[in-house]
């Protein structure tokens, strides 16, 4: 059987040991140029779609830019650029370390 761990817990632990400050937040709250690590998802459907496209817990992401009206947002993940709407970005919990 597959060993189940809660998404991202493992990674959050790794980070908390090396970084001084760990902030959990939504991807939608990051501003342009900010990086973070995917921690978990709050919507099951979006989660599956994003994971299939390589947005896995533990993957590093960077906000490339927002569309002129603030939505959608373009992020850099797994070596390519992905665009998603704000309400979808809200379902991605990320860990920011400073």
């Amino acid at each position: 059987m597959v060993n189940k761990t809660k998404d991202g817990d493992e990674h959050a632990n790794v980070i908390s040991k090396t970084a001084k400050k760990v902030i959990k937040m939504r991807l939608s709250d990051l501003s342009k140029g900010e990086s973070a690590i995917i921690d978990s998802f709050t919507n099951e459907g979006t989660k599956l779609k994003l994971m299939e496209m390589g947005c896995l817990p533990g993957e590093k992401i960077k906000v490339s830019r927002h569309a002129p009206l603030g939505c959608p947002v373009a992020i850099k993940v797994a070596n390519y650029t992905l665009s998603l709407r704000m309400e979808e970005a809200q379902t991605i919990i990320v860990v920011k370390y400073e």
């Binding site: 779609k49 299939e52 896995l56 569309a67 070596n79 650029t81 992905l82």
Partner: protein
């Protein structure tokens, strides 16, 4: 006799799958719809020769791009249905997974799913030139060994590696033995029961079907089978979301290991940062819109000016052919049917080709370069307010030229609800066929004056008509947003591909495909309706027709009779007595509140062929020669028309405005309806569209006329 094998191409969007398809099939390809859905199905053939010189014919199907075999959108259901259900008519003998070499990890996810289906397969790693240029090194031997699948590096744009791929297509007849990930472990009882019950070819096919049984024919159409699966899943606490998530994570764990073993230096920053520099301009809050407007401007300038010449050519060729044909054929019904029914109908179809070809050439370039994803990115929020999609902008703007290619271009909108709304509102945009109607009516009712010394009133009204169309489209979509319910979950999550040069062969194939689809699918309906319209407007009850013909026979016989004038008068009288004329009179009580008489009624019916026919019908009704069709003469005749009750000019401001509004809103275009039927798969949507636009037109004209009269 050569052996035939069925080959399916699968891959992520932007993986270069269509380039490979074009490279393999060349001109031996055709385009249709997948059964039951309006998703493009491209099929083609390719001849393979083995070492002994024996020929194989590979029938290649290009499946819609997807990131996973789990369907998330309408078009992603196709790869799942074709590859998992061995009863599907397109179930392949061989699968070629096309991977984007610069995004290998993500591509391997889909590849790993396909491996577990146990169908013979090959992995084509595309864009191998970019992979090499970026310093990435793929160890193909190790990759072959760890996947159990033959991987071939190709550059589909330049035809590199295609011959090797063709050779391997003959050899690849066996399936991978080991599972990439054995999904039986995730849900053993469900997988085993389903496999023994339905003889699915692999554990993974059984597992995928357990997750998506509603999309498989056996379960969709058979309640007993459906109940069996449902109760099985319930009994075993099969939690689809949870199990899919486990599967995805497990697959990526293995893929990460494979990547570490087979690929060195897996970081590719240069290419993307080049795109990022372009994006700084093209998605900028000011320059982004400025450049989009500039691109649109160039596009539509080109469509209008370049399409004009071939359109005029089609027009004159058909006029010449009609003349020639009616000359060599004996006078009579057959002559009339061929020339004014069939030939006129064909001409009405072919005239659209230049615009369709040009619009799709531009759209192919925009898609190919990656710019379309940016259009969507900068327009999405604005368009979403109205229930539309970022990609609805191109169809809406194209609608100003012609709704036919515009509606065909809505296929780039993946979300079904947003695509449907776009299709429904596009015909409200003022297309070029309305222009002759507006020009005639504006000249009739709006005085040619200057406002403030520099604004021409006629020009101003014309612009207002275009704006009315545009705002009506936005308003209608805003309303439809609340009416149309969608079962489909809507995601916007999309890759922004890196900028690349367009593939000219792909542009050419897109143009050809769209022209073919229009000619053979919509064309049939258009020709059929034009023949019906021709019958309606050239035949009437024979008792009335005989009277007219006798009357003019004697008139013609008189010495010194002006035969041209008489012919015009006879045609006018015949039209009045034709079935269309009778319908126009029947219609009169209904359209009287809008200020229209039976003459306009006839024009409304004949305009169904195309809106600009209004002018031609008016010419016939007012006995103006059709041959030297002169806008001024029709205008003067219409201006002289008096209202029989008041004695005032019939075409008052109220009637003119009411009529223009009617033409602005009503769905009077059979070509558009035929294309909507083709794009939505049934007559339901075209009928709804016809009714809602008709109602809108009626109400708008009624209010305008009653207020202004």
């Amino acid at each position: 006799m050569s052996l035939r094998i069925k080959v399916a191409l699968v891959g992520n969007p932007n993986s270069g799958k269509s380039s490979l398809f074009n490279a393999l099939t060349g001109m031996n390809q055709k385009i249709a719809n997948f059964p039951g859905v309006t998703v493009d199905k491209k099929t083609g053939t390719c001849t393979l020769v083995d070492a002994q010189g024996k020929n194989f014919v590979a029938e290649i199907t290009d499946l819609p791009g997807t990131y996973s075999l789990y369907p998330k959108a309408l078009d992603e259901k196709i790869p799942f249905q074709v590859l998992c259900d061995s009863a599907n008519p397109d179930y392949p003998d061989l699968i070629i997974v096309v991977a984007d070499g610069t995004n290998l990890k993500r591509s391997l996810f889909l590849c790993s799913q396909v491996i577990d289906l146990k169908i013979p397969m090959l992995l084509a790693i595309n864009m191998i030139d970019l992979v090499k240029a970026s310093g990435l090194n793929i160890d193909f031997e190790k990759l072959n060994a760890s996947l159990g699948v033959k991987a071939i590096g190709i550059n589909a744009r330049k035809n590199e590696g295609i011959e090797e791929l063709k050779r391997e297509m003959i050899n690849a007849q066996s399936t991978v033995e080991a599972d990439f990930l054995d999904c039986r472990n995730i849900a053993p009882e469900v997988v085993d029961t389903l496999r023994s019950h339905y003889h699915f070819k692999s554990n993974y096919a059984a597992f995928l079907i357990a997750n998506n049984y509603n999309d498989i024919t056996v379960f969709k159409n058979n309640t007993a089978e459906k109940n069996f699966v449902e109760s099985l899943l319930k009994e075993k606490f099969f939690d689809s979301y949870k199990l899919q998530a486990i599967e995805t994570l497990e697959r990526y764990k293995v893929i990460t290991k494979v990547m570490e073993a087979c690929v060195t230096n897996p970081l590719l920053e240069n290419k993307a940062s080049f795109s990022s520099k372009i994006d700084r301009v093209l998605t900028h809050s000011i320059w982004g819109y400025v450049s989009f407007l500039a691109i649109l401007f160039i596009m539509f300038q080109a469509i209008f000016t370049w399409a004009k010449y071939p359109m005029e050519f089609v027009d004159t060729t058909f006029a010449y052919t009609s003349q020639w044909l009616s000359g060599i054929l004996p006078d009579g019904m057959l002559n009339d049917l061929l020339v004014n029914g069939v030939l006129a109908g064909l001409g009405g179809v072919i005239i659209f080709i230049p615009q369709i070809a040009l619009l799709f050439a531009f759209i192919a370039i925009l898609e190919d370069t990656g710019y379309m994803a940016r259009v969507s990115f900068i327009m999405d929020k604005l368009m979403r307010t109205f229930g539309l999609n970022g990609r609805s902008v191109i169809p809406l703007v194209s609608g100003v030229a012609c709704a036919v290619p515009a509606i065909m271009s809505t296929r780039t909108i993946q979300n079904w609800k947003e695509r449907l709304i776009t299709i429904l509102v596009v015909p409200l945009m003022s297309c070029s066929a309305r222009l002759p109607v507006y020009t005639l009516l504006i000249a009739l009712i709006i005085p040619d004056k200057m406002l403030f010394g520099f604004i021409n009133t006629q020009g101003l009204v014309l612009m207002l008509m275009y704006l009315i169309g545009f705002f009506a489209a936005l308003f209608a979509s805003f309303v439809l947003k609340f009416i149309i319910k969608s079962k489909e979950k809507s995601y916007y999550i999309m890759e922004m591909p890196v900028y690349r040069a367009p593939r000219w062969s792909n542009v050419l194939y897109t143009m050809l495909d769209k022209v073919k689809v229009f000619l053979f699918d919509a064309g049939k309906v258009i020709v059929a309706i034009s023949i019906i319209l021709w019958v309606l407007s050239s035949y009437g009850p024979s008792s009335r027709y005989n009277v007219i013909e006798k009357k003019y026979e004697t008139a013609f016989a008189k010495t010194g009779a002006d035969s041209t004038l008489l012919t015009q008068q006879m045609q006018s009288e015949k039209l009045e007595s034709s079935y269309a004329g009778i319908m126009g009179k029947v219609l009169e009580p209904v359209i009287r509140p809008l200020g229209f008489d039976w003459k306009i009624g006839i024009a409304l019916i004949t305009s169904f062929a195309a809106r600009e026919v209004f002018v031609g019908t008016m010419s016939t009704i007012y006995s103006v020669g059709k041959d030297n069709e002169n806008l001024l003469t029709v205008r003067d005749k219409m201006r002289a028309e008096k209202n029989p009750e008041t004695g005032e000019p019939f075409y008052s401001l109220a009637v003119g405005i009411s009529l223009m509004l009617f033409y602005a809103f009503a769905m009077q275009c059979m070509s558009t309806l035929a294309v909507v039927k083709r794009e939505t798969g049934s007559w339901t949507i075209p009928v709804i569209q016809f009714l809602y636009m008709g109602a809108l037109a009626y109400v708008a004209s009624l209010i305008a006329f009653q207020l202004l009269k």
